[in-house]
Symmetry: C2
Subunit: 199 residues, 2 copies
């Protein structure tokens, strides 16, 4: 037996979503087509609204339904610091910590020669053009892996090449708070040892 | 910072889907609103199509875009056996095994007094009205838990009350093929011991 074509189609589209495998997509397709019809109607409209109205901030590339995002427009934010993230999801997570009050810059990717992504494919030039004397610090909040480290080093190099005095920092590496040393990777142990601090 | 309202709305709706938690829903909402716009357009339309065209089979309640589902309409299927499932997802999984060639009956739920679901809330009456001399066997393929067992016993009782000679069977309980005895629950061990077979 085949699914009716409407459910097959829904299933295929859902299966293309990040984090949605074939089991979940068929479950969702049937739910949306049979039991969750009123949710489907609202979801269909909501997708249309998002497609029509969501764009990326002209300055930092955060998500917005305006020319600038709510952070770039906020006069209270500290304009002397720019925190660099890979994508808007990382931004949201950092923002939800409540710790950071400066501006952001979304790169929309990381340098990854293996995947054919070079420096000009992500928003590094846009970052450099935002740096002036007023920006005292650029905080790199990139995933601590090969791509994140390579992208960070490239940005540091370009800032130095441009004779900018902006300080470049990155988030500390170490044991995650609430995490378990038993399950920490070797590299995490090494990083946290080297960066140990007095108490 | 708040998400723009279009993304917030999308996020809330996606979070209502079965199997989609808050982390996945916000990831999907941003993906659909920013990087996956063309997928969003197709998904929006596909949801509309499914809502408009998908209904349940008048006989077995399987999903269909017709009055009867493709299984009930298939003249090749063995009409002397009806396999009873909780929902259409279970039906699809059994169907994909290729083992079964009879008809189905979808209950749309299981008896669950804890959740206020009684026999009249699921499609038991519709099952009984399908039983005639032509139906030789009803196979219960219900999850082996309290609700599934209670629903199965109730169906068996009602068939006996109606003086129908239909044979009632259920799927075997035991160690899952490819599974690991090390991780089998106590009840699974007990069930598989009691139902052991000669080799």
């Amino acid at each position: 037996m085949q699914f009716p074509k409407e459910i097959q189609n829904l299933n295929e589209l859902l299966n293309n979503l990040p984090g949605v495998g074939p089991k979940l997509s068929s479950r969702l397709a049937i739910y949306l087509a049979v039991n969750g019809k009123s949710l489907s109607v609202r979801l269909s409209q909501s997708l249309k609204d998002a497609v029509e109205n969501i764009k990326t901030c002209e300055l930092c590339a955060n998500v917005t339904n305006n020319t600038l995002c709510s952070i770039c427009e906020d006069a209270e934010r500290d304009r002397s610091v720019i925190l660099v993230v890979e994508d808007a999801l990382d931004l949201i997570n950092i923002e939800s910590s409540g710790e950071y009050k400066g501006l952001y810059h979304v790169l929309n990717g990381l340098i990854s020669p293996m995947n054919g992504i070079g420096p000009s494919d992500i928003r590094i030039q846009e970052l450099l053009s935002r740096l002036s004397e007023k920006v005292e610090e650029v905080i790199l909040a990139l995933n601590p892996n090969i791509e994140g480290d390579a992208t960070g080093l490239f940005i540091k190099q370009r800032v130095e090449d441009a004779n900018l005095s902006t300080k470049i920092t990155r988030l500390a590496k170490g044991i995650p708070s609430g995490g378990d040393i038993e399950f920490a990777s070797n590299q995490t142990i090494v990083d946290s040892m080297r960066a140990r601090v007095g108490i």
